[in-house]
Symmetry: C2
Subunit: 352 residues, 2 copies
């Protein structure tokens, strides 16, 4: 089974964006804000946007199941207040839930949180609980910079975030560290802000001792861990200077990297320096880089080809990257798959 741990609903029906635009236009007039019930999207519309996009490509590429969350760049936690974020998160999470109901063999939800800059993170807990309990979310996306490129929140190791971590641990749900749109003109959203956030988060975790307080908390750093694997020697050396234990002991029981790295040399570096147990297959398809690489004739984000072509990973290790690690890092995914297998006969796949 091939599990992609990093997919977003980037292809949602246009009505979603129209509703959001109305919401944003009325940020300063709460009374004029559209009601969530004014957004009407049919199952057929959802089916169409998935079948012709993500599911089509999953079938072509041979991926089975995607952990599916709301479009990251649209989270835009910096826009409006907590009420705005809250209504928006609820809508987006429900849509991903509906995708998972319509395509139960191929999509399982992860939640966005209704973060808002300067607002205590406790406010996100009801939505987190709802997504885990009612929607079967197996993970959340945690934005370390809800200001959208101004980095006004404390580092991830600060106690500011602890109420969220406590609840994540309680639910046994990992967090993918994922920023949203940059409103800072210095940072291109997917070319700088995303990658910088990954790098920044990794260094924050080196500086702190977060996993002493939360030994079972798990973070997935997307986009191949930002710059971390490329600068693995720098990070090992900095950890050493900061008198931290070696990275394997300090972080790698709790921190995992996905394979959203869009060329063979990058994937090879990742698998060369990061233990296989810490690498999770992902493509972020359909996402930031949608084109076809003229050097290969294949989509940049068809990361499965790079894993397949890897001469550094054994077949058993590839299976770990594709499936085994995800089942371990996302226990609720493992439970959901086990429940499904017991309902449908072990190993049997239902069609959609």
């Amino acid at each position: 089974m091939i599990i992609d741990v990093h997919g977003h609903y980037t292809t949602a029906p246009k009505a979603l964006e129209a509703w959001r635009n109305r919401q944003l236009a009325s940020i300063r007039e709460p009374a004029a804000r559209p009601h969530p019930s004014e957004l009407v999207i049919s199952d057929d519309e959802i089916r169409e946007t998935i079948e012709t996009n993500q599911l089509k490509q999953m079938r072509e590429r041979g991926a089975d199941l995607t952990i599916f969350s709301p479009r990251a760049s649209f989270m835009a936690h910096h826009l409006g207040d907590f009420q705005v974020s809250s209504a928006w998160a609820a809508i987006c999470n429900e849509l991903c839930h509906r995708v998972s109901l319509l395509f139960p063999d191929h999509f399982i939800p992860a939640a966005m949180l209704p973060q808002s800059p300067g607002v205590p993170v406790e406010t996100c807990l009801p939505e987190l609980d709802r997504c885990v309990r009612q929607y079967g979310a197996v993970a959340v996306n945690l934005n370390p910079d809800p200001s959208g490129g101004h980095w006004t929140s404390p580092p991830l190791t600060d106690r500011h975030w602890y109420p969220l971590y406590e609840r994540l641990v309680e639910h046994d749900v990992p967090a993918m560290i994922h920023v949203s749109t940059s409103c800072n003109p210095c940072f291109h959203t997917t070319g700088a802000h995303y990658i910088n956030a990954d790098t920044t988060a990794f260094m924050q975790l080196i500086q702190g001792n977060l996993f002493q307080d939360f030994p079972t908390l798990r973070f997935v750093i997307p986009h191949g861990g930002g710059a971390a694997p490329y600068h693995w020697g720098r990070y090992r050396g900095l950890a050493q200077e900061l008198k931290k234990p070696p990275l394997a002991e300090h972080l790698l029981g709790n921190v995992f990297f996905d394979t959203c790295v869009y060329h063979q040399a990058g994937i090879d570096l990742l698998t060369r320096v990061v233990p296989v147990a810490n690498i999770l297959f992902a493509s972020e398809m359909i996402g930031a880089v949608r084109g076809v690489d003229p050097e290969t004739g294949h989509n940049y984000d068809d990361t499965k080809r790079f894993i397949e072509a890897s001469t550094l990973l054994t077949p058993a290790q590839k299976e770990q990257v594709y499936e085994g690690n995800a089942r371990r890092v996302y226990p609720r995914l493992q439970t959901a798959l086990a429940d499904k297998a017991s309902r449908t006969g072990k190993g049997k796949e239902r069609g959609t």
Copy 2:
């Protein structure tokens, strides 16, 4: 000849820091600020700090010449106003000049600029001119974020920076894009801010068309280009989506990466994806990562070992990385070396 294009005077005599501390303590009282003449450092003190540190390690490792600039993390352009930055830059640049006079075969200066957040970049031109004309500086360090981690300046492609670029082109001097200390608690200075700045600058250059306006302007992106080589596929794909020419055509006539990547796998990736003509040998020794890697028994920043051990580079390519590219990218270095050779007999090295 082995040229290290990225060294900072991180080991300057303590009197320098003491003077700076007095300057910073009097930021709000210009009349109380120490005069530059109050800083007295003897040639012997400079000799001692260099001979027992950078030069010692250059000799041990087998590097001949370092392009030497003021300590990057101490530039701290965010502290004080332009007058503060100006006095500080003048002092630091003079010290690097003195190092180059005391060790003319082993150090050649690069200048820091007296940048200050929100101040027009034109104010840096007199110091740039002085360093090039009087001190023989062959390069400058350009801080794309003088705010120190708040990223309040416009992107490097903005016309804000053009007066500086015009002068760099006039002097035929490249700029290393190098931030300073982060005063944003989210960003560890050398573990996040430095690497993020490299990544950010590269993406800004992809987004713009700067080298159409300045075909001979050259930037060196340090620390192996931040995350750029590891995500080369992403950047090729993003350039393609932005309807830019391929990276080789769009940027690689003007943008170069150094080898400050502190492990073999990282250096191998760099040399695998970036054309050899765009890679410049560097170690940033003595800098951010000073320890010995227990996995190799050698210093993390002894990057020459990784080039030596590379099986991807031919001996001729290694020579390009060590020397040929630097002579091409830093024409004033080439001129200085040619002048020296003609004075001392071609190829003959004077002792210090």
